[in-house]
């Protein structure tokens, strides 16, 4: 190299020294960065927890938050599987504290940049219905039988559960508002006359109440050339896809510093994390792992319909369930739920 571009000549002739005072300052700043990253992971965790899939809802007694159990294994590299129950309070004056289960899903996080959400039907039998054991996931949730649920998911589905989380959709609205709303693209004009959700095609900025209406939508319709038609032939798959798009949009908004008040976002997330998890280190561990997550995959458990001798109708894992569960737990590609109706505005 000649003199002009000899980078050695560009060096500071009297560089500073770096001692204990500088080290202490760096550690203080590093600790603050760690906290910030944990918050980012927390936002993603809450977004993911908020939006599993949902199947037909029934009114039931909501799980008592004081009785949530979390049994975290502190193995640093072990994947985490957390059952997420999203509830809502039915409208009307006489709900008497009852809640509707909007969704039951399992969030799987390992050391990769991909998180997975497996949605389970509420009417999945947890026992052997042919022999009169007609207990379902929904009733186990209603009865707060977390041990029973964990055992069924381990023995029946092959998924070791690390913890349970319960979240109400109103908290999702708070989170969306705290990050300043989210951006979603609709492939066509959409409506749900049940939930009151109506929107035109294209990219839209949605606030918390809109997002909750979309989350709870069970009869979303799109305007086709020949009139209004159901958004997808397989409604539940469509819902899972929409929920995944919402989760991604929340994370995008949070990471881009969206929202008029970052303090508000912090407060919401702190509150949700405090209320949702037991303080045994699982929340912090998940937040740390989720801070690296860039992609969310979601799918539903394949099921087949079963009618019991007493004419109860429910589901049990179908023929393809084993391969889906294997891929869900071990990291293979899973069948993505369709999200074509609603997607994020980013990159498009």
């Amino acid at each position: 190299m000649n003199d002009m571009f000899d980078f050695d000549a560009w060096d500071d002739p009297t560089p500073p020294t770096f001692g204990p005072a500088e080290l202490a300052a760096v550690k203080r700043r590093g600790a603050a960065i760690r906290r910030h990253r944990a918050l980012g992971g927390g936002l993603l965790a809450v977004a993911l927890l908020a939006v599993g899939s949902a199947f037909a809802a029934t009114t039931m007694g909501g799980p008592d938050r004081d009785q949530r159990i979390v049994t975290a294994d502190e193995g640093a590299a072990a994947p985490r599987n957390v059952v997420v129950v999203v509830t809502s309070t039915p409208p009307g004056p006489s709900t008497d504290g009852l809640r509707t289960t909007e969704s039951i899903s399992i969030l799987h996080v390992d050391g990769t940049s991909t998180a997975r959400v497996l949605s389970l039907p509420r009417d999945l039998f947890t026992g052997e219905p042919e022999r009169g054991d007609t207990r379902k996931l929904a009733s186990a949730v209603a009865e707060r039988e977390w041990d029973t649920l964990a055992r069924y998911m381990r023995d029946g589905l092959g998924v070791e559960i690390d913890g349970f989380a319960v979240l109400d959709v109103t908290e999702i609205a708070g989170l969306v508002d705290a990050v300043g709303g989210i951006e979603l693209r609709f492939s066509a004009p959409a409506r749900d006359e049940h939930s009151g959700f109506v929107i035109d095609a294209g990219c839209h900025h949605l606030l918390g109440s809109d997002v909750v209406a979309l989350l709870m939508s069970r009869r979303l319709e799109l305007l086709r050339p020949d009139g209004w038609a159901a958004a997808t032939p397989t409604g539940d798959l469509g819902r899972v896809g929409r929920h995944a798009a919402i989760a991604t949009a929340i994370v995008d908004a949070a990471r881009s510093g969206g929202g008029s008040s970052r303090l508000a976002a912090t407060t919401v997330v702190d509150g949700l994390m405090r209320n949702t998890w037991s303080p045994d280190g699982l929340a912090a561990d998940l937040a740390d792992r989720l801070s690296n997550v860039q992609r969310v995959e979601s799918t539903v458990l394949p099921v087949s319909e079963v009618t019991t001798p007493s004419d109860q109708i429910g589901f049990r894992p179908g023929g393809r369930a084993r391969s889906v569960l294997d891929r869900f737990v071990n990291g293979g590609a899973i069948d993505q739920a369709s999200g074509s109706t609603v997607s994020t505005c980013k990159g498009g």
Binding site: M1, N2, M4, F5, D6, F7, A9, W10, D11, D12, P15, P16, T17, F18, G19, E22, L23, A25, V26, K27, R29, G30, A31, A32, I33, R34, R37
Partner: protein, 170 residues
């Protein structure tokens, strides 16, 4: 123990970050700030990056310094060291401008190899790619940089600037 390892490496890594930042910024105070921010980020992720700490620190310090330069120019219209009139300053300006126009991966390779003085192997480790990929990015970067840094090369043959960007010996 994470903190012990970091403490042991602190002085070495700080000096590296400062040297890289100073080469880009040419300004002591800003280079110190970049160095501190780089080391703080390294501390926050020490468990992950400690195996290739020097490469990681060099890359982050460079990116922070370039970001600082961009922000500084937006505010003041020109980099702080460019307010001087030395030929060295003009050269820095040319080089950093040319670097900013490179695709991200090519820019990182050039910076790690030239400004941070990393070997091809360390550069590959820092970027998570093979040494072959490093060579390929370097080759493409050189091809893109030459016309920007040697505008009259056809008339006069290779200029000093041209020869400077032939690259360090591997």
């Amino acid at each position: 123990m994470v903190s012990v390892d970091f403490d042991e490496r602190f002085a070495t890594l700080s000096s590296l970050a400062y040297r890289v930042a100073y080469r880009v910024l040419g300004q002591r105070e800003d280079a110190e700030n970049v160095s501190q921010e780089t080391l703080a980020r390294a501390y926050a992720r020490w468990r992950t990056i400690s195996r290739y700490d020097e490469a990681w620190v060099a890359r982050v310090a460079t990116n922070l310094a370039l970001g600082h330069l961009r922000k500084d120019r937006r505010i003041e219209g020109v980099a702080p060291w460019a307010r001087d009139t030395t030929a060295e300053v003009a050269s820095r300006l040319d080089v950093t401008d040319a670097l900013r126009q490179l695709p991200k991966r090519q820019r990182e390779v050039v910076i790690l190899r030239f400004i941070a003085d990393l070997s091809e192997r360390d550069t590959a480790a820092a970027l998570g790619c093979s040494t072959g990929a490093v060579k390929q990015h370097m080759h493409r970067a050189m091809r893109a940089l030459r016309p920007r840094l040697t505008p009259d090369r056809d008339a006069t043959g290779p200029t000093p600037m041209h020869s400077a960007w032939e690259g360090p010996s591997a």
